[in-house]
C-alpha cells in the first residue's frame, strides 16, 4: 500500500513539473533566441515585435493542442465514422442512420431522452427557484442552501447507490428496508420493485438527477434574485400584490435570462447523462437513453464504431442549437465590454 502511495505521488509530481517546465522553458528559449538587450536598437525592436507575434501561441499552444486533438478532431472523425461499417473500414453510406431509425431500442432511447429533457431541467429550475426564494428570507437559509447544494459533490454512481437503497424492495412478508417501500407499506400500499416498472421507472431515475442538480440551479438563481432592484418589489407590495403575484409577475420575469442559462446547462447535462442509467438499470426495463446506448454499442460484440458514431452524432445534433445560442450570447457580451 505504501509503495503505491509513493509511486502515485511520484507520478503526480513529475506530471505537474513537466507541465510547468514547458511554459517556463518555452518562454525562456524565446527570450534567448530573440535577444533585445544588445546595442543594435533596430534588431532589438524587430526581435521585440517577433516575440509579441510568437508568444501568444506559446501561451495558447497546449490548450489549443488539447482542444483540437480531444474535441475538434473527434467531432469530425465521429462524423466520418458514422458512414462506415462496424470496423470503421468499409464505407456504407447512410446504412447506420437507416439502422438507427428502424431500431426499436434506439427509438426507445430517443423517447426516454425526450422524457428526461422535458422533466429534469424544468424540475431542477423550478425547485431551484422556489428554494432560492424561500431560503433567501429566513435566518438559517444558508444552512438550508448548503444541504440542498450538497449532492452536487456526490458522484452520480454514489447517488445511484444512495437511491437504490431508497428504492430497495424485499419480497414476500419481509420487512422493507428501502425507505420508499416502507412508506408505501405504512400507508397500506403494496411494495413494488420500482426500478423495473416500465415507463414510470424513468421517473425514478430522474429523481436522482433532480436531487443532484437542484442545488446548482438554486445557487445561481439565488444570486440573480438578489440583483432585483428593491423598488420594483416595494411598488408591487404597495399596489397590493400577494406573494404569488410577486413571484410570478415580478421576480420570475426579472431573472428570466438566468433561468434560461440554468435550464440550458442542465439540458446539456441531461443529454450526456450516462452513469445513473448504467448503475441503476443498465438500460434494462425500457430505461435506455442515448448516451448509454452509444456506450453499449461501443463495446457490444467487440464494438461497432459506425452505429455508436451515429448515436454520438444524434446527441451532438441535439446540442447544436444550444451551442449556437451560447456563442451568440458570448459574442454579445464581448462587444458589450
Amino acid at each position: 500500500m505504501l509503495s503505491q502511495i509513493v509511486s502515485a505521488l511520484g507520478v503526480v509530481v513529475v506530471a505537474v513539473f513537466a507541465c510547468s517546465a514547458y511554459f517556463y522553458f518555452s518562454n525562456k528559449i524565446l527570450d534567448l533566441a530573440l535577444p533585445v538587450s544588445d546595442g543594435d536598437v533596430r534588431a532589438a525592436s524587430r526581435n521585440l515585435n517577433r516575440r509579441a507575434v510568437i508568444r501568444p501561441w506559446l501561451f495558447l499552444g497546449p490548450a489549443l493542442f488539447l482542444l483540437f486533438v480531444y474535441l475538434v478532431y473527434p467531432v469530425v472523425a465521429t462524423f466520418i465514422l458514422s458512414f462506415y461499417d462496424r470496423s470503421g473500414l468499409q464505407f456504407v453510406g447512410l446504412a447506420n442512420y437507416k439502422w438507427a431509425i428502424g431500431d426499436r431500442e434506439f427509438r426507445q432511447s430517443i423517447f426516454n431522452n425526450i422524457l428526461w429533457l422535458a422533466v429534469v431541467p424544468a424540475a431542477c429550475t423550478f425547485f431551484g427557484l422556489v428554494i432560492a426564494v424561500m431560503t433567501d428570507r429566513i435566518w438559517w437559509g444558508n444552512i438550508a442552501k448548503s444541504i440542498v447544494f450538497m449532492p452536487m459533490a456526490i458522484s452520480f454512481v454514489g447517488a445511484s447507490v444512495i437511491w437504490k437503497f431508497i428504492y430497495e424492495y424485499r419480497g414476500g412478508n419481509d420487512v422493507q428496508i428501502g425507505l420508499l417501500n416502507a412508506i408505501v407499506q405504512l400507508f397500506g400500499g403494496t411494495p413494488e420493485v420500482w426500478i423495473s416498472v416500465p415507463f414510470w421507472n424513468n421517473f425514478f431515475l430522474m429523481v436522482i438527477l433532480i436531487w443532484i442538480q437542484t442545488g446548482f440551479a438554486m445557487v445561481i438563481l439565488s444570486a440573480a434574485l438578489r440583483g432585483i432592484p428593491e423598488e420594483t418589489i416595494e411598488a408591487a407590495v404597495i399596489d397590493g400584490a400577494n406573494g404569488w403575484q410577486i413571484f410570478w409577475r415580478i421576480m420570475v420575469p426579472q431573472v428570466w435570462g438566468t433561468i434560461a442559462v440554468v435550464w440550458t446547462t442542465i439540458t446539456i447535462l441531461v443529454l450526456k447523462v450516462f452513469d445513473i442509467v448504467l448503475t441503476m438499470t443498465n438500460g434494462q426495463w425500457q430505461t435506455m437513453v442515448l448516451a448509454n446506448l452509444m456506450f453499449d454499442w461501443m463495446f457490444r460484440g467487440g464494438g461497432d464504431s459506425g452505429r455508436s458514431a451515429v448515436i454520438a452524432i444524434i446527441i451532438m445534433l441535439a446540442v447544436t442549437p444550444i451551442m449556437i445560442w451560447n456563442v451568440r450570447r458570448a459574442n454579445r457580451e464581448l462587444k458589450g465590454h
Binding site: C19, Y73, M150, M152, I154, I162, T265, L271, M298
Partner: protein, 387 residues
C-alpha cells in the same frame, strides 16, 4: 436584508416558509443519511430492519437450538434441560418465542408454553430457559429448534469500513482515484490560465474566433470524442509498444474535456483585472510571462481556486472517462468504477455498498464543505453577469 425579504416579513407567510424549507432540507438530507447510518450498522441488522430504526434498537427473529438430551436433569417426575438462548450475547433480551416458524412470537417471554406431548418450555427475557418433559428425553432425539424474537439495543460498528477498505479493493481504488484526480486538476488550471491570459491581454489575429470556438466547445458532448480517441490511443499504444490505457492518457483526456469551461471561466476573470496594473508593468519592461506569473496568477487566485474545486469534483466523480481510458481491470479501477462493479457483484450486500459509497463521497464532501465559498463564486462567475 433584500427587498423581497422585507415583503415576506409582513403577514403569516413566514411560518409557512420556515416549515416548507425544513421539509425540503429533510427530503434532501435523508437519502445520504440513510447510507451513512447503514454503513455503521451491523450487517445482519441492515437486512432485517430499516436504517431508520437503528436509533431505537431492533427486534429480530432468530432460530436457536435448545440443549441436547445429554444435558437433561431429572427433577421429580420430570426431566429438564436448562440453558440460555442468548449465550455470549450481551445487551440483548428475548421479547417472545415460539416453536413454529409461522408463529415465532407465539408466547411472551417468561410465559410457560405447552408444546404438547408432555413438553413445556419457558424462556425468560434474559434468555435463560427451562425445557421440560414428563418422560426422559431419548438420546437420539435431535435438539429442538425454537424461534425467539430478540431485541437488540442500537449498536454501531466500524466493521463495514474495515471490510471494504481491506477486502473489496476500495483502498486500492482510493489511491487510483487520487492518482487520476490530482494531476487532472492541477495541469488544466496551468494550461487554461496561460490560454486565458493570452485571450484576454495579448493582441494577435484570430483571437475573437478562438474565443468563440472555446465557448462552442463547452457544450460538445463527451461521447463524441470517445471512439476516435480510443482508436488514437490504441494506435499510439501499438506504435510505442505500450498499453493504451495509462494514467497520462486519462490526465490528458480530463484536462482537455475540462479545458473549454476552464478557459471560459478564467478568461472572464482575468479579462476583468484592472488594465492599469498590467499596462504599467509592461511599461516597466516586464515580459508577458513575467506579468502572468508575478501579477496575474496571484491576483486570479479566487478564480483558480473555484475552477480547481470544480475540476476536482468532476474528475473524482467521473465514471465514463475512467471506464474508457483507464479500463476496468482490478488494478486501475477508480472509486466510481469500483462502486459500479460492486453494485453488480454485491447487489444485495448493503453493508458493503453503503460503506463503499460513503468512502467514495467522503473526499468530495470534505472538499465541498471546506471550499464551498469558492465553488459558489466560480459558478456565479460563469453564469450570472456581475455575480
Amino acid at each position: 436584508m433584500t427587498a423581497v425579504g422585507n415583503y415576506f416579513k409582513i403577514g403569516p407567510a413566514r411560518l409557512f416558509v420556515h416549515l416548507a424549507v425544513l421539509l425540503i432540507v429533510i427530503i434532501w438530507l435523508i437519502p445520504t443519511l440513510g447510507i451513512f447510518v447503514s454503513a455503521l450498522r451491523d450487517k445482519d441488522q441492515i437486512v432485517v430492519s430499516g436504517w431508520w430504526t437503528a436509533f431505537v434498537g431492533s427486534t429480530q427473529t432468530v432460530a436457536v437450538r435448545l440443549g441436547t438430551p445429554d444435558q437433561q436433569k431429572q427433577e421429580g417426575a420430570n426431566y429438564v434441560i436448562t440453558g440460555n438462548v442468548l449465550e455470549g450475547q450481551t445487551g440483548r433480551s428475548v421479547k417472545a418465542f415460539g416453536n413454529r416458524v409461522q408463529q415465532p412470537a407465539a408466547f411472551e417471554a417468561g410465559e410457560t408454553a405447552d408444546l404438547g406431548d408432555g413438553e413445556s418450555l419457558q424462556i425468560n427475557s434474559d434468555g435463560s430457559y427451562r425445557y421440560m418433559k414428563n418422560t426422559a428425553f431419548s438420546p437420539d432425539e435431535r435438539p429442538r429448534r425454537i424461534y425467539a424474537s430478540v431485541s437488540a439495543p442500537p449498536e454501531f460498528t466500524l466493521q463495514n469500513y474495515k471490510t471494504v477498505l481491506t477486502g473489496e479493493g476500495i483502498g486500492q481504488s482510493f489511491i487510483n482515484s487520487l492518482t487520476v484526480t490530482i494531476p487532472a486538476t492541477i495541469i488544466p488550471i496551468l494550461i487554461a490560465a496561460f490560454a486565458a491570459y493570452a485571450l484576454s491581454w495579448m493582441e494577435f489575429p484570430g483571437r475573437a474566433l478562438l474565443i468563440a470556438l472555446v465557448v462552442g466547445l463547452i457544450v460538445v458532448p463527451l461521447q463524441m470524442s470517445l471512439i476516435p480517441l480510443l482508436r488514437l490511443y490504441n494506435e499510439i499504444g501499438n506504435m510505442l509498444g505500450q498499453p493504451s490505457k495509462t494514467y497520462p492518457g486519462i490526465w490528458f483526456a480530463h484536462t482537455a474535456f475540462g479545458m473549454p469551461l476552464a478557459i471560459f471561466l478564467l478568461r472572464a476573470y482575468i479579462a476583468g483585472l484592472p488594465k492599469e496594473i498590467i499596462e504599467s508593468a509592461r511599461v516597466d519592461g516586464a515580459s508577458d510571462f513575467e506579468i502572468f506569473v508575478r501579477i496575474v496568477l496571484p491576483l486570479s487566485f479566487p478564480a483558480l481556486a473555484s475552477f480547481a474545486i470544480f475540476q476536482f469534483l468532476w474528475v473524482w466523480n467521473d465514471l465514463l472517462v475512467a471506464m474508457v481510458f483507464l479500463g476496468t481491470d482490478q488494478d486501475h479501477l477508480v472509486l466510481t468504477g469500483r462502486l459500479n462493479a460492486l453494485l453488480g457483484s454485491r447487489g444485495g450486500n448493503w453493508e458493503i455498498l453503503t460503506a463503499s459509497a460513503f468512502v467514495t463521497i467522503v473526499v468530495p464532501l470534505l472538499v465541498f464543505f471546506g471550499l464551498q465559498r469558492y465553488l459558489v463564486r466560480g459558478l456565479l462567475a460563469g453564469s450570472v453577469k456581475g455575480g
